[in-house]
Amino acid sequence: MIDRRALFLHLAVLAALLAALPMLAAYHVTNIAKIMVLAVYAMGYNIAFGYTGLLSLGHAMFFAAGLYAAGMGISLFGLSAAGALVLGPVAGGLAATLVGLLALRTAGVAFMIVTLMFAQAGYLTILYFVKYTRGDEGIVIARAARAIGSVDLSADTPRYLLAFGIFALALLLNLALVRSPFGRIMVAMRENEARSRMLGYNPYTVKLTALAVSGVYAGAAGAAYAVVFGYVGASLASVQYSILPLLYVLLGGAGTVLGPFLGALLMFYLIDYASSATSAYLFIVGAALILLVLFAPKGILGTLRERHARWLP
């Protein structure tokens, strides 16, 4: 029952991103690479929030788990860049599982608060162990360490291609996940937990699994961020980085596979252009978000799906 339109659309987006590389100015190559990495993070957030209905305010901890696993792995233990990219998702998934084991005993507002507290505790832990994490100042990963084989990942084209590769893999896995039987159960949990329980699904294990997958995505994005941009700092573990993926997902469309990327793309360039025009750029971002809530509360792709394209996954 694979909907060819959906598969075609996602492949077309990937092809366009690849085709755009030679046409983009260096400035935009860096931007789009960053957007693709952040979109992987937001896709992970969307698996928990958009599909399973878990409104977490603590995803920065899972992102940071991957970020620091990569950053400290490379700077303290001489891990290779490729090894760091493998370790990151493991660390993110592990952090999400541990937090989930406790936090998923709560729901709704309590879940938001508990996840926020865990993430803040994680952030303070990073600041406390400044000797190893270098705290606010952060770890700058040496250029020599940012290579896979002989490919220098600090150069524009390889960094774009690496970000693209991770993004493409994450996107296609995301598509497969939401089309899978388990994807249907995640949505069922979001839509009606009591009913799902009476169909024989254990809400705790379903939500824990979804959160773990979400953490794997966040950790993968964190590790990619460290390797591709060479910087690992405590500010990337702050509450702001828990809110960012939420905004991307809300803008692009919660519960849509392409929504997180679209949201990240638009939000990134909105901030970019607004901040070049005025120092009060947050005012413009705020106004845009208010317009979104008023006219498209389900986000861009969510609204599109509702009105025109029900096949959109």
Binding site: M1, R195, S196, R197, M198, L199, G200
Partner: protein, 235 residues
């Protein structure tokens, strides 16, 4: 007489001072249609919630097919084959009719999934509406979808909580046919206010009043029971 599939002994649940279910002994025989009746507030929904595991029992014991399930969580009881359809319709309003039933069939591990879901839909006559969003169905159709989800679970015990509430006469006749088709492979426990439905379907009736069993027996025996008449039938 057929084997007992579900047995409750001394089942009790109080809410503060309210004795919703108070020391109920109850036997359900394999393959029968058993109706649970009683006035409003008699504890019928609480009682079946204890059986399905939505509410935990304070004391007493439940066994299903010889196995003690008193402490088993609701989702695990569903996996054993106890399906419960809600009194207040609980469908996935935002999902398609097909997805609603597929979620039930998938839980049962049915394969191929699509065929199992469509079979359950066709039993309630909703197969033509499979792509419709469930929340846009008429109330009667939503009730039938709820029943289809119960059927797709391929339960050994199907608990129906006031299934005909709000159905038209024609829909009730469809419903009666569905319930008759479920037995004797499965067992049906039916909470019902519509006495015509009860008398047409039930082979055995248990009457609850103030959380206790007032009477239990065949439909003619219940109809003739003076205590039942004064408490409930109002005759």
């Amino acid at each position: 007489m057929a084997a007992v599939i579900l047995e409750a002994r001394g089942l009790t649940r109080h809410f503060g001072g309210l004795k919703a279910v108070d020391g109920v002994d109850f036997d359900l025989r394999q393959g029968e249609i058993h109706a649970l009746i009683g006035p409003n507030g008699a504890g019928k929904t609480t009682f079946v919630s204890l059986l399905s595991g939505r509410i935990e029992a304070q004391s007493g014991r439940i066994s299903f097919d010889g196995r003690d399930i008193t402490r088993l969580p609701a989702h695990a009881r569903v996996r054993l084959g106890i399906a419960y359809t809600f009194q207040i319709t609980q469908i996935y309003a935002a999902l398609s009719v097909f997805d609603n039933v597929a979620l039930a069939a998938q839980s049962r591990g049915s394969h191929p999934l699509g065929a199992a879901a469509m079979e359950a839909l066709s039993r309630v006559g909703l197969e033509a509406r499979k792509d419709q969003i469930a929340g846009t169905l008429s109330y009667g159709h939503q009730r039938l979808l709820e029943v289809a989800m119960g059927l797709a679970l391929k339960p050994r015990l199907l608990i129906l909580d006031e299934p005909t509430q709000g159905l038209s006469q024609g829909e009730i006749e469809t419903f009666n046919g569905i319930v008759k088709s479920v037995v004797p492979e499965a067992t049906v426990l039916l909470i019902e206010h519509n006495m015509d439905v009860v008398m047409e379907l039930a082979e055995w009736i248990t009457v609850l009043n103030f959380g206790q069993v007032l009477a239990t027996g065949t439909p003619p025996a219940i109809r003739a029971n003076p205590a039942v008449q004064s408490a409930y039938l109002g005759a």
